[in-house]
């Protein structure tokens, strides 16, 4: 059996192992992998997500057990320090010696720390490993405790630097980005697109300093500032260096492999180094005189090395490597592909720029106008996949190439169908999966749905950017085979949401068991139970108390479960209007039960930290002060945000507060496919941000403008205009129709924005249904909404008045004790749950 040693267990080292064991010939080899970090390989590309959940496991490429199952020996926390090419052995830092037949170097790179005076001071970090992040978190907490307005700078305005900027911002530090060049992301963006990106980043609170060379880092033992010129100083309490990478090539140097002048181990197109038994892949490999700092070429290199070692010597690294990238940086789309900076001698550029919306699009077209050479997208990269495909496959472009980037007009965009792509079009560049492979596994019957396609081909398992295209291709291929593409709910029902809705409505079912016994299989699960509960609520206007065991946790306990299993209570404050007496009552209740208190982003006051047992006690007090607890959970109406409108405002055109309250009270009991928020602004200054809501009203001369389908969640959307200058009565009529139409036809967990986007016929069709009553269902919809509105009952009052229901709110059924596992820690004069490990 031949022995392979892989040095380095990063993303590329892991990919080598994965591709190797997937090969039938791999049984003739034994693989040993060395990693110097304490944990198995993880997804460094998504490192900044660690800040959101601090869940290192979620970033893992594969758990430790995966290595065992595949017969790979994984040695972590052990650095390889020497290679003896003569004896074909390696030596580790603890003086252990291992011999190899093939050696694969995948040691990657280390952050480059420029030789600035004072760089060794406390509070200076690099951004590369989970341990780096943990160090930053701990230090940030320390300085923030001393100084709540602490600042952090990031040295380097490249890709990683901007990610680091978001990270320090999320830690609650004032973020500053310091870049040596005169633009951000100098390797990917031109000056104009950098300026657009800068405006956007500044609008979300990042401070950008360009053309700054750092002379020294100030402070005694810990950093207090950065000095650029004599009188040019930036006071900061922490610094993260993200000034590029340097290959970790010291092993290559000491054992005499051929090296590049500026570092990196030289490889040929077989990924072989100057020693034929040693391969180098990823960010230490110098190929074409280049170090490729992207994960996709690293994965390709791993694939070539695997093939070469098992004897498939025809598999070579291509001469041209696609350096296109698309990312979501701090919520901003940024993409560049092909040749982003093209000299005028090679072609023409077409540029679309809209600074008010932080949009920039540039495409570079050949002189004959026939092919696409490259481009840059900032602010909206939804066209990236298609543009990238056109570029990669040399596809023909429209006579007027501007159509490729101009906003879609009536009749749709300039793009064709995904099915028009050639079979060799690469859809997933991380895993090198072509359109032909995706369609192939479906046509051969190997894959029956999207999940199968992903597990058969691994498409979409890298950065995930290609997922929408993979889904479109899967659906289109299934359709072309005459297979109905069905969105079923889960293994228990072969039905969609709409079909279940109709069945429950027609048969009048009242319990989950009636539905599953007659139309499903098994016992149900956490997907179908809450869905059926929601449909029954929509149809019969029952509260969640009726059959509480099929409700999701929050609906079952009528409050939001939070990080440590305690709950938050969010009293409804319709339209955000509240009397001083009620404000005082809220404060007193919060104080009595020692609750953490916060004003939310949507005209409410959050009360956190209530135990199960305290919930009914708190509700009772709230109810006695005229409150009702609010739906801050569940798929229901949350709030209708209002500005102060003509009640007090000197610009107000109409009474936004009164109308907001009326609407919030009207729809407060409804259950929907997703949560819904509304907004009412008294004038076009839009202080209630109504266009960022599922429905929004703006008072104009002559009535209200009604907008629908805003918010969009992870994919933010502005609401679109449904009707202009209508009166209160018409607003309610249209909203009843709109909401009911959405509740009846959207998929589970589909927001209004996504529902509207996929509505065939688009906004025009929606207007025909809602305003012109094209389908003749307007009256039905209105009546149905009226029934729901009339049947509203306060479910918290229901719960506290019924001793049987009250049983739900004891932590134990056999003891009055509270959960003894709860730990709170102090924070800014209030409390919070102890952080998770």
């Amino acid at each position: 059996m031949k022995q392979i040693i892989v040095v380095g267990n990063g993303m590329v080292g892991y990919k080598f192992c994965e591709k190797f064991v997937a090969n039938a010939e791999s049984k003739d080899f034994k693989i040993t992998v060395f990693g110097e970090e304490p944990r198995p390989a993880y997804d460094r590309v998504h490192l900044s997500e660690f800040f959101e959940n601090q869940d290192a496991e979620a970033l893992e490429m594969a758990p430790r057990s995966w290595y065992e199952e595949n017969g790979i020996e994984l040695v972590t926390s052990e650095r390889v320090v020497d290679i003896s090419r003569g004896k074909k052995t390696i030596t580790t830092v603890s003086d252990r010696v291992f011999s190899y037949d093939y050696l694969v170097l995948a040691t990657g790179s280390a952050p480059f720390v420029p030789p600035i005076k004072g760089v060794e001071k406390k509070g200076v970090f690099v951004y590369r490993t989970i341990e780096d992040l943990e160090g930053m978190l701990a230090y940030a907490a320390e300085i923030k405790a001393e100084k709540p307005s602490a600042r952090a700078a990031v040295l380097g305005g490249g890709l990683l630097g901007l990610e680091a900027g978001k990270a320090v911002k999320d830690m609650g530090l004032e973020p500053h980005i310091v870049e040596f060049a005169n633009k951000l992301m100098p390797r990917q963006l031109d000056l104009r697109s950098s300026q657009v990106l800068q405006l956007k980043l500044e609008s979300i609170g990042l401070n950008i300093h360009l053309s700054k060379a750092t002379n020294q880092i100030l402070g005694d033992d810990r950093i207090t500032g950065m000095e650029f010129g004599e009188d040019d100083v930036l006071d900061v309490d922490m610094l993260v260096i993200s000034a590029g990478i340097r290959p970790r090539d010291e092993l290559g140097k000491t054992c005499g492999l051929e090296m590049g002048v500026r570092g990196g181990i030289v490889v040929d197109n077989k990924m072989q180094t100057s020693d034929p038994n040693i391969y180098a892949i990823g960010e230490i490999a110098l190929y074409n005189q280049m170090i490729y700092g992207l994960v996709a070429p690293g994965y390709d290199m791993a694939e070539v090395a695997v093939n070469q070692i098992i004897g498939n010597t025809e598999k070579l690294m291509p001469a041209d490597i696609d350096m296109s990238t698309k990312l979501k940086l701090i919520g901003v789309d940024v993409a560049s592909f092909g040749e982003p900076f093209m000299p005028p001698s090679k072609g023409h550029s077409i540029i679309f720029e809209n600074k008010t919306q932080y949009l920039y699009k540039r495409i570079n077209v050949s002189l004959d106008g026939k092919s696409l050479l490259g481009g840059i997208l900032v602010g909206d990269a939804s066209d990236y996949s298609m543009l990238h495909q056109i570029y990669l496959n040399g596809m023909a472009i429209p006579e007027d190439p501007a159509q490729l980037i101009l906003p879609a007009t009536e009749g749709g965009g300039a793009f064709g169908d995904v099915m028009d792509l050639p079979d060799e079009a690469q859809i997933c560049s991380c895993e090198s999966v072509t359109k032909g492979q995706i369609c192939g596994v479906i046509e051969s019957g190997e894959a029956k749905d999207l999940g199968d396609v992903v597990s058969c081909t691994k498409a979409g398992t890298g950065c995930g950017g290609c997922k929408p295209m993979v889904k479109d291709l899967t659906d289109a291929t299934l359709k072309s085979l005459g297979i109905e593409v069905k969105d079923t709910i889960c293994e228990h029902f072969e039905l969609g949401r709409q079909e279940l809705y109709d069945i429950i409505k027609i048969k009048g079912y009242r319990t989950f068991n009636e539905v599953i016994d007659n139309h499903g299989t098994g016992c149900g699960c956490e997907l179908c139970k809450p869905l059926v509960a929601s449909l029954m609520a929509t149809i019969h206007a029952d509260t969640a108390n009726k059959e509480y065991a099929i409700q999701d946790s929050n609906d079952r306990f009528l409050a939001n479960i939070q990080r440590n299993g305690t709950y938050s209570v969010v009293p409804r404050v319709p339209g955000g209007e509240i009397t001083p007496d009620k404000l005082i009552a809220l404060g007193q209740i919060a104080k009595k039960y020692d609750l953490y208190t916060k004003v939310t982003g949507g005209v409410r006051i959050d009360l956190f930290g209530a135990t199960l047992k305290q919930l009914p006690l708190i509700w009772k007090e709230l109810i006695s002060h005229g409150f009702e607890s609010g739906h801050a959970y569940g798929k229901s109406l949350r709030t209708v945000k209002t500005c102060v409108g003509s009640t007090w405002c000197r610009y107000g055109m109409d009474e936004s507060v009164s109308f907001g309250i009326e609407l919030e009270n009207r729809y407060r009991g409804i259950r929907a496919p997703h949560k819904i928020k509304g907004g009412v602004s008294g004038c076009i200054r839009e202080c209630a941000e109504a266009r960022g809501k599922d429905f929004g009203l703006i008072a104009v001369d002559g009535g209200w403008n009604l907008y629908v389908g805003g918010n969009g969640g992870a994919t933010p959307r502005h609401a679109e205009l449904l009707a202009e200058q209508i009166d209160n009565e018409t607003v309610i009529k249209y909203l009843d129709r709109y909401l009911m139409f959405y509740m009846r036809t959207a998929k589970p967990l589909q927001r209004t924005a996504a529902w509207q986007e996929r509505l065939e016929g688009g906004m025009d069709y929606l207007k025909e249904v809602i305003i012109d009553d094209k389908l003749g269902i307007a009256e039905d919809l209105e009546n149905e909404m009226e029934t729901l509105v009339n049947k509203f009952e306060c479910e918290w009052t229901q719960a506290v008045n019924d001793p049987e229901m009250m049983k739900r709110f004891n932590h134990f059924v056999n003891s009055e004790d509270e959960d003894d596992n709860l730990v709170f820690v102090p924070m800014r004069e209030q409390k919070m749950p102890e952080p998770w490990n």
């Binding site: 699960c525 139970k529 946790s553 299993g565 596992n821």
Partner: protein, 125 residues
């Protein structure tokens, strides 16, 4: 944190030394769960009426170590009875504690018996 988990170990019927009388069958919702205190342990007990069975397991979810499993929704995964944690929807088999949608360690399960109106949970210590 591991200390929390150390208290819980799967117990088989043949190893039961103590049948602890926990509560009345009426204290548990149909097709739902509630938490029982036994010494310093928190045990989630489920009345799986649809299958006409009762199950018990540790109340602590091994993902984030919070005492919440009794508040999770129950159901089945291809016929295997399971509970979904209310915090992040990690699901566990109620038969043998196996994590059905991930690779976390199995949770501890305990035998349950019903005599008359009463629910008993079996412990080996």
């Amino acid at each position: 944190m591991e200390l929390v988990l150390d208290k819980y170990a799967t117990t088989k019927v043949e190893d039961v030394k103590v049948w602890f009388k926990a509560a009345s069958v009426n204290d548990f919702p149909q097709d739902g769960g509630a938490c029982v205190k036994y010494k310093d342990k928190q045990i989630a007990v489920f009345n799986f009426a649809k299958m006409d069975k009762w199950y018990a397991c540790q109340n602590v979810c091994p993902h984030k170590m919070e005492m919440v499993l009794s508040r999770g929704m129950i159901g089945d995964d291809k016929g295997i009875p399971k509970v979904a944690c209310p915090l992040h929807k990690k699901t566990f088999s109620l038969e043998n504690g196996e994590n059905l949608n991930g690779d976390m360690d199995a949770i501890a399960t305990y035998p349950v018996k019903i005599e008359g109106e009463n629910v008993y949970i079996g412990f080996s210590e």
